[in-house]
């Protein structure tokens, strides 16, 4: 049965392996160069460091599209290997040939799921591994592996996504019995699962750490000038290398934010230096402030720091792999449920 399962996925697998080899070779050559550039940056001194940094982080923009491809590959797996697995047999009537041989339907389905599943996992896994390796120098400099878009292109989650999409496609195809409809539903379902997980589930997988930062710590607190006066904008990127910042507030010890009236009062001199919007003066949102306005800004932050501080909630970079395993476990668990549904359906409902 294993031979038959391989025979049925063979042509697709060869095509995928061909593309995979081409991509991996490209990643190999450019990746070696990239790590040389990174070594140059590590040994840089003085003025050359800026350009060395840029050489690592800005080169090979076209190769970075492999990361975007990695977002799509699991969907392809679900659409082209999952959805037709049972649906095409039902559509073309070949299930009457396959299920009348001397092998039970359960074994037939198990074999097909395992062989196609292994092909899916190997393809996605090899591509992810190659790209994760390739991006090491960039990740070391940009410290953003936990950023939602980067997280899904690294480590092991793409393999879990692919196996989930494959199981989803198979189950949908088994229930709908139509290949094209199953492909469409799989694409929609997989996209929905990914988006929902990224936005609503992933932030709750790890309990956040919080960090309290004084306002005058030169973190780049923004001060916005409105017609009503001044109000504070929390720093979007506090200096937590590689951390995934999910919350950012300016509060006092009771947890309340500063009112505009309070800020106006504490920052009278800054208010005097910044005309209301529309009058074209210098300000935080316009040209960088300098001279007396800068002095006024320092004074303002010092005054505010007496009562207020910034509270940042974040997941530190060190928990990257923990989060990878947790999210993978969720998708693999869902895949296992979908596989059970397919087996149940083939055994009991398709009669």
């Amino acid at each position: 049965m294993t031979w038959m399962s391989w025979r049925q996925v063979r042509s697709g697998a060869f095509a995928a392996f061909g593309i995979l080899v081409a991509i991996v070779v490209t990643l190999g050559f450019t990746g070696v160069h990239l790590s040389n550039l990174y070594a140059d940056y590590r040994s840089c001194s003085g003025f050359t460091c800026g350009s060395s940094f840029n050489a690592v982080t800005r080169s090979y923009h076209h190769v970075r599209w492999v990361g975007a491809l990695l977002i799509l590959v699991p969907a392809f797996v679900g659409i082209f290997w999952g959805a037709p697995l049972v649906a095409r047999e039902l559509e073309t009537g070949t299930f009457r040939l396959a299920w009348a041989q001397g092998v039970s339907r359960e074994r037939w389905l198990t074999s097909r799921l395992v062989v196609s599943g292994v092909v899916s996992a190997v393809t996605t896994g090899a591509l992810t591994f190659a790209f994760t390796w390739w991006a090491i120098p960039i990740d070391r400099l940009q410290h953003n592996r936990l950023a939602p878009s980067v997280f899904a292109e690294r480590g092991i989650v793409p393999v879990a996504y692919a196996l989930f999409a494959f199981a989803l496609g198979t189950a949908v195809g088994t229930v709908l019995r139509r290949t094209m409809a199953a492909m469409a539903v799989t694409l929609v379902g997989f996209t929905a699962a990914r988006v929902v997980t990224q936005i609503y589930v992933r932030p709750h997988l790890l309990s956040p750490l919080t960090k309290v930062v004084p306002l005058n710590a030169q973190l780049g607190i923004g001060i916005d000038r409105t017609t009503a006066g001044l109000h504070l904008v929390p720093d979007g990127t506090p200096k937590l290398p590689g951390a995934w910042v999910t919350g950012n507030r300016i509060v006092d010890s009771a947890g309340h934010g500063p009112t505009t009236a309070y800020v106006n009062h504490a920052c009278q001199s800054l208010l005097a230096h910044t005309p209301p919007p529309g009058t074209g003066g210098p300000g935080p949102k316009g040209r960088p402030i300098d001279g007396p306005a800068f002095q006024a800004m320092q004074e303002c932050l010092n005054n505010l720091s007496a009562r207020f501080h910034e509270v940042v909630s974040y997941r530190p970079a060190s928990r990257f792999w923990e989060l990878q395993w947790l999210e993978s476990a969720i998708f693999l668990g869902a895949a296992a449920l979908l596989v059970s549904l397919s087996v149940f359906w083939v055994r009991r409902r398709l009669v």
Partner: protein
């Protein structure tokens, strides 16, 4: 004697429509059974139930003494050639034989190869490019090479031209003669069935109307014709299957146990086709209380 098929109150429903209902029949082993009936009568449903591709909605069904598709062994004992002989279009003939060899423990590779040679088929050819006749022959080869005890054929010759049909039936009859397996074959072509079958199963309007050996059926059915008269006066062992009256004459097909002694009747023997047509034509007008004949012998 073991039986190829034992059904008791067997029924299969699709949604609210019964494709087959109240089917109680027992067919002994070792027959070539012709399964006949009008379109949509439930022939395919019965065959798919027998191979286990469908599950009964009610009643029970045993094939070769066991539940259909109960396990791999039972699947291996029953060969099935589905309607339109489905094959994998992108796979070669050799791939199909390898498929059969991998999935069937008793696979006879030598037989399969002999058949391919006899049919002059190129093993490298893709199954999707075969003609209807070649595809049916490939599917039959697969069904036979697994060495089944019971072979189920669903309209195997419907799409074939006369020559391909003759070749197909020749393959089938020679194999059956050599190995003595049981066959259930559905077809609209009564002349073909008459040539190869020794048992008849007639399904009409989702019911089994008739099940008996062909010889018995021919021995117990006669066409009688004579001056017009009321057929309710016939002896108790003679049952009317079909009747037609003109102003002066009455013609009827009857089932009888003994001989006809009434000299008023002209008595004719019937072909199998005549018997089948009598049952199919009579089904609609007959009162529901009419007993089914020849069932569960």
């Amino acid at each position: 004697m073991s039986s190829a098929l034992t059904a008791a109150g067997l029924g299969k429903r699709y949604g609210r429509k019964w494709a087959l209902r109240g089917c109680t029949v027992e067919i002994p082993d070792g027959h070539v059974v012709g399964l006949v009936g009008p379109n949509g009568a439930g022939k395919s449903t019965l065959l798919n139930l027998m191979v286990g591709l469908l599950a009964p909605s009610e009643g029970s069904l045993e094939v070769l003494g066991r539940r259909p598709a109960a396990d791999a062994e039972q699947l291996g004992r029953v060969g099935f050639l589905a309607q339109d002989a489905p094959v994998y279009g992108s796979m070669s003939i050799a791939d199909h034989l390898r498929f059969g060899a991998h999935l069937n423990p008793r696979w006879d590779a030598g037989f399969a190869q002999e058949r391919l040679d006899a049919l002059d088929l190129d093993p490298k050819q893709r199954a999707g490019r075969l003609s209807g006749g070649q595809r049916a022959q490939l599917a039959l080869t697969m069904a036979l090479a697994k060495r089944p005890q019971l072979l189920l054929l669903d309209e195997p010759v419907a799409a074939l031209d006369p020559l391909a049909r003759r070749d197909f039936l020749a393959t089938l009859t020679s194999y059956v003669a050599e190995h003595g397996i049981s066959v259930v074959m559905s077809s609209h072509l009564l002349a073909d069935l008459e040539r190869v079958c020794d048992y008849l199963l007639l399904v009409s309007a989702a019911q089994v109307q008739l099940a008996d050996e062909v010889e018995e059926l021919l021995a117990h059915h006669r066409r009688i014709s004579g001056p017009r008269r009321d057929l309710s006066t016939l002896p108790a062992d003679q049952q009317v299957i079909w009747q037609s009256h003109t102003e002066r004459q009455t013609t009827a097909v009857i089932h009888l146990e003994g001989a006809i002694h009434d000299p008023a009747w002209q008595v004719d023997e019937l072909s199998l086709e005549d018997v089948v047509l009598a049952y199919m034509g009579g089904g609609a007008q007959a009162p529901p209380s009419r007993p089914l004949l020849g069932v569960a012998r």
